[in-house]
């Protein structure tokens, strides 16, 4: 029974990791910007959801909408006022990385100053587990997380493969000139990538506020797992990022079946190292040099 419990817990956590990793992967895949501040979008969305729903007692749909708006605005702000000026002048990868990292720390401190540095969470019956079989506890939020992750991924896949803007987003990193030929503006397409990628982080942020709870440093941890999931899945592959997130969530929980709990997070990085050594292109990424 413990094994089944760990699998269910792993799927729930994996769904949250997948949602965050897919947003990061979408932005990186389309723009080649290493958006480390994606974790800051997660923090902003999660705290705004908590503040509007648990403190101001707004209805959840309104709170979720505010969180989406804030995450999208943050993504657009980063693209327009941080990454674009850097890329206009020199565009060095390291400069972009440091700028994003700096923003992540600023956001962490701003959130701590505004909302407090302690632990907060959204209390809801959805996170309360019920015993569905002897020894097996499942919370409604587990099923909701998995279903939402599937819906988001399906809609995103449809958007990227069946719409002009979606296809342009996929083409952006490979050949921006081709996008111009089709009458689209590469800068505008990059903004779409940031807006959508940042919006996708919101469901995971909301589920985390309800289950694990929040502190201002929550985004850094989420970002670390998202990066690992993106590498495991194959950089630039959305399907890979989703599978990578799911795999890491499962690995983190299943580790407890045979190992002591302090190994659970280490297992995540063992999986990452195994991929880096034996399958550096990840699940679905293209090997280096492939055209």
């Amino acid at each position: 029974m413990l094994l089944l419990q760990l699998v269910i817990n792993g799927l729930q956590l994996g769904a949250i990791y997948a949602l965050t990793a897919v947003g990061f992967s979408l932005i990186f895949g389309a723009t080649k910007v290493f958006h480390v501040a994606h974790g800051a979008a997660f923090t902003i969305a999660a705290y705004l959801f908590w503040w509007t729903s648990a403190v101001l007692h707004m209805p959840w749909p309104v709170a979720a909408l505010i969180a989406v708006l804030a995450a999208v605005l943050f993504g657009l702000f980063m693209e327009r006022f941080v990454y674009r000026p850097i890329q206009r002048h020199e565009g060095a990868f390291f400069t972009v990385f440091i700028a994003a990292f700096g923003v992540q720390i600023i956001v962490q401190n701003l959130v701590g100053t505004i909302f407090g540095r302690g632990f907060v969470s959204v209390t809801t019956s959805l996170s309360r587990s019920v015993e569905v079989m002897p020894g097996l506890f499942v919370a409604p939020i587990a099923a909701i997380s998995i279903v939402v992750a599937i819906i988001v991924f399906t809609v995103l896949t449809y958007y990227l493969t069946r719409t002009h803007t979606g296809m342009a987003m996929r083409a952006l990193s490979e050949n921006p000139d081709l996008i111009r030929v089709f009458g689209l503006d590469p800068a505008r397409v990059a903004q779409y990538a940031f807006a959508i990628g940042s919006a996708i982080v919101v469901p995971g942020a909301i589920f985390t506020a309800m289950t694990a709870g929040l502190n201002p440093a929550v985004g850094a941890h989420v970002m670390l797992i998202s990066l690992a999931a993106t590498i495991v899945g194959g950089i630039g592959s959305l399907r890979g990022a989703a599978c990578g997130g799911l795999l890491l969530g499962l690995a983190e929980n299943l580790a407890l079946w045979r190992l002591d709990p302090q190994w659970s997070e280490a297992v995540t990085f063992v999986v990452l190292f195994l991929f880096i050594i034996f399958r550096p292109a990840g699940f679905f990424g293209r090997p280096h040099g492939a055209k």
Binding site: G118, F119, T123, G135, F137, G213, N215, Q262
Partner: protein, 376 residues
Amino acid sequence: MHITRLLAVLAAVCLGAAGAAAQDTIKIGADLPMSGPNAEYGELFGAAANLAAEHANADKMLSKKLVIQFEDSQATPQQGVVAMNKLVNVEKVPYVLSAFTGVSKAIAPVGDKAKVVSVNGGGIGPDLAELGDYFWNVIPLVNLEIRVMAPYLVQERGFKKIALVYVDDPAGEAIQKELKENVPKAGGQMVAELQVPRNAQQFTSIAAKVRESSPDLVFIASFGAQQAQIVKQLRDNGVPQQLASYSAFASPTVTQLPEAKGALFPSQSVDWKAAGMSERVAKDWKAKTNKEPNAYVANYYNAVMVFVKLAQALEKSGQPITGENLLKQRRANGTFDLVGGKMEFLPNGSVSMPIQINEIDGAGGGKLIKAGTMAK
């Protein structure tokens, strides 16, 4: 040329003003977490220390204004040492407030080498009593807390089977060691000991392991946001058993958490209604924060007041305020009248105090359920 001269004059004036300001103050340091997941503690400890400095300055206890220079330890040993080096070598302070077992152990050799006193009011690892002459504690260490808590839980409350969830950190390991020794001694049994990484945030599967061990009580030995996360996730994932912890549960993050209602934790006995210093601190703390003070407020207030009383004695006898002289004066003073009553340092620089047991009342605080007793 004129501009260069003007700038030089301005710089000289500014430097002179800064130097004069430095000479008009007595500075001590505080190596506390101001950012990261444990920043809440730094905020609480710092506010209590500032209140003590405010009182000392208002009462003109020292010849100059007392100021506290805060540096961010982030509650990590590495950052704590960086901050300590700055306080000792750049700010040249004779006295530093410290917190967290790991940080305190890391900074102690720096203070010892420079003959700068470090005073801990938040870390609880028993080995903090053995860090040398220049490391003092104004908080009873966890071995004393557990020696009161274990017999209470097992013998008085009948929680025979205890599961422990503890953080992979010197504080967590110290608590595990003490429980392993004291729970069987009291007639109980440790049915699970689950160590979790310091930065772990997901405990749904830990809850499954706890359920599997069928305990009467779950003892949580963590701190900061993580201890609240453990409480919430245990309650959300089918663990209805009694919860207990050490003095870290006095943190507002836990006492205000609905899921933590009914949890038991020890703390040093402080009668906030006692006339004099305790009453004044309680009144001013409530006026400033709109909250009741807790044991941490007493500890960091006391840590600053210990310095003030020692420095006062040194000034009276015309001796400079250095770490070495503070140590000599502490040994000469013996006892101190502080928040919570008389405090006496043991020869190893730690203190022994009565420990009381509290229950989280669900209204944002802890209510006393067993009056203070001395650890055996």
